[in-house]
Amino acid sequence: MRIVSAAETAPPTYHWAVHAEGLQVRAGRRYLAVDGLDLALGPGVHGLLGPNGAGKTTLMRALATALAPAGGTLTLLGEQIGARSDLRGIRRDLGYLPQQFGFYPRFTVREFVEYMAWLKEMPGQGVPSAVQRAIDRVGLTAKADARMKTLSGGMLRRAGIAQAIVNDPAVLLLDEPTVGLDPEQRLDFRELLRDLGTDSCVLVSTHLVEDVVAACTDVVMMNEGRVLFQGTTADLIAHGGPGDAGDSPAERGYSALLRRHRAEAAR
């Protein structure tokens, strides 16, 4: 149980939680890893698919406000994001698990998640219960008071998810959250994703097409810095045929889309 403030129950003043038009983002000094990307995301779980180098991680960084857009427009929760914007308010409503999740090894899981809650400027009295809830939701209850450095790869990933969701973010960005999870943990994680997606906008970047099909309401496919497909998982599957590469209908849809896009680009 927690007290819900009026601000939280007020209807949003924006249409899309994430809205990008012609978005350009640099990776490094010059290279535009995201170049002319259009994207609109509302509540739900969105799977972000694409080959290595498609610009997925750069896009995630931009949405997390770690990188400023180099061109185009990006709007998060109705606020325009630029190099000079005051991001403090927006950042309180973000949750982010970077691909390379950095953590303080001497902290316990509970301490680290609590520390992150403080950095996210959560009001003090709600923090201990929110921390416990986040740890429970990722299934680390038994390890809550273990030092971070003693955790296995999968546990670290889950601790990373716990810190991302501790503030009940309106936009949750998870970059490869399932790396290191065993099959059972992945099933639990899909469950958690479905739960999170009921009232937040969740964007999950992954290479595992199966995770997307199982847990996501829709799919965003990227290649070479742009969105090449956005639709439901059923749409993705529909693109595949028996002749396409892949062991499942969704994988066949993925490879069919990619092949067709590359063929068009080559022309």
Binding site: R61, A64, T65, A66, L87, R88, G89, R91, R92, L94, Y96, P98, Q100, F101, G102, F103, Y104, P105, R106, F107, E111, E114, Y115, M116, W118, L119, K120, E121, G124, V127, P128
Partner: protein, 440 residues
């Protein structure tokens, strides 16, 4: 914030820093050479300051080590997406490290206090100023270290910074010569070695050192929280301001280098007669001195014109200040031993007698020591022997003189001793004064 401070106190380098400073500082004040703080609280405060020579570089290194945590843990990307501003984010860890150096330094003080608590009485306000400047030095060091570790996040930053800090402290005297006032303001360890019993630190000197160190600390803090080059450039202002204000306050006179606390020299006396008086700083030793001093006065009573009181000899030098010469007062040198009690307590009776039969220091004439020793032991009725005497030749000579004196008829010998006492009150004692031509 409180909970996060608690986390940082447990998980940062705070506990290790505190323990390192406390253990190394305690070992230094007790074991590096000898215990220089047995006289009292001011001597303890100054000895603690001296060993900032090592604690200051250690605090620098601890700060730099702690500040590298963000880089080591690769949290930069995640933290760059968080709303809390950098200045607030570093506050808990800065507080934890500050508490650590403060607690570490005060623990060294407590460890020293335990040794002298039984005999140290006089606690002037200047002690707190001296300790305060020491604390400020460590706070400035740990903040500068945190800033350096953040701006240059490399594994070599911490050790390099320690070496630079140590070298700077050692090089300040040479670099500021002949402007000793400047060196003294800049270096918290200046003039802190082997403090004398009546030594103190001029309040204006402490104030100037405090201003300079505060400026240094604020500069460290600004560099630590700075997000861009503007604040980093502005960070030179506090240290420049501290330097300017400190220089304005700092006395230029050389006298401040060895300031004497006249209140510490004032005599504190036993309540009943015959009066035995020690300086205020040694007042805790009064019980140890009174008994043997009175015993000596009783023995002396047989000598015509015998003194009736014993005062500590509170002479201080350059500039020379001596206690007044009074015919009824013996001026006794009081030294505090390594155990914070009277050095060579067994010699006190003999020493009072010897001093009654010697020229006081104020005469500027130091000869005749063997004669005084021989006469003193003749009065005591035993062969000269002193535990604490460094000049064994003088003792051997005194033994010969003592034998000569013992061979004389009793009233002849008593007359010689009386003449020696009379000479001592006129600064007239010289070598051979006791037996004169009758030297064996």
């Amino acid at each position: 914030m409180n909970r996060v401070l608690g986390i940082e106190l447990r998980r940062s380098a705070a506990v290790g820093t505190m323990l390192t400073l406390a253990v190394i500082g305690t070992l230094l004040i007790y074991f590096l050479e000898q215990i220089y703080f047995a006289d009292g609280w001011m001597q303890l405060a100054m000895t603690m300051r001296l060993y900032l020579a090592l604690l200051f570089p250690l605090a620098l290194a601890a700060g730099a080590w702690q500040a590298r945590r963000e880089q080591r843990a690769m949290v930069a990307e995640l933290f760059s997406t968080l709303p809390r501003p950098r200045a607030q984010r570093v506050l808990p860890v800065v507080l934890a490290m500050t508490l650590a150096v403060v607690a570490g330094y005060l623990t060294v003080g407590l460890a020293g206090a335990a040794w002298i608590a039984g005999t140290a009485r006089y606690l002037p306000a200047a002690v707190f100023a001296v300790v305060g400047v020491g604390l400020l030095a460590l706070v400035a060091a740990v903040w500068l270290g945190l800033a350096a570790g953040r701006l240059l996040p490399s594994p070599v930053t911490a050790p390099l910074l320690a070496v630079v800090g140590f070298a700077s402290l050692l090089l300040i005297p040479g670099a500021t010569r002949p402007h000793d006032w400047l060196g003294m303001m800049l270096s918290p360890i200046w003039a802190m070695n082997m403090p004398g019993p009546y030594e103190t630190m001029n309040g204006l000197v402490s104030a100037a050192q405090g201003l300079w160190l505060a400026g240094l600390a604020v500069t460290g803090m600004l560099l630590l929280i700075s997000g861009g080059w503007r604040l980093r450039v502005a960070a030179v202002l506090p240290v420049a301001l501290g330097l300017a204000l400190g220089a304005a306050v700092m006395p230029r006179s050389v006298d401040v280098l060895s300031a004497v606390d006249t209140r510490a020299k004032e005599l504190v006396c036993s309540e009943d007669e015959p009066r035995v008086c020690l300086s205020r700083v040694h007042a805790g030793l009064l019980d140890e001195v009174t008994g043997p001093a009175r015993e000596a006065l009783t023995v002396l009573a047989a000598v015509p014109g015998a003194p009736t009181r014993v005062h500590e000899d509170t002479s201080t030098y350059s500039p020379d200040v001596f206690p007044p010469r009074q015919a009824d007062v013996v001026l006794l040198d009081v030294e505090v031993g390594q155990d914070a009690h009277l050095e060579n307590g067994a010699d006190v009776v003999a020493n009072v007698l010897i001093k009654a039969l010697s020229n006081p220091w104020s005469c500027g004439e130091y000869s005749g020591r063997s004669d005084a020793m021989a006469a003193a032991f003749w009065l005591l009725g035993r062969e000269p022997a002193l535990n604490g005497e460094l000049n064994q030749e003088a003792v051997d000579e005194a033994k010969v003189l003592w034998q000569g004196l013992a061979k004389l008829p009793a009233d002849e010998a008593a007359g010689r001793v009386a003449a020696l006492r009379k000479a001592a009150t006129n600064c007239a004692v010289t070598d051979g004064a006791l037996l004169g031509g009758a030297r064996p």
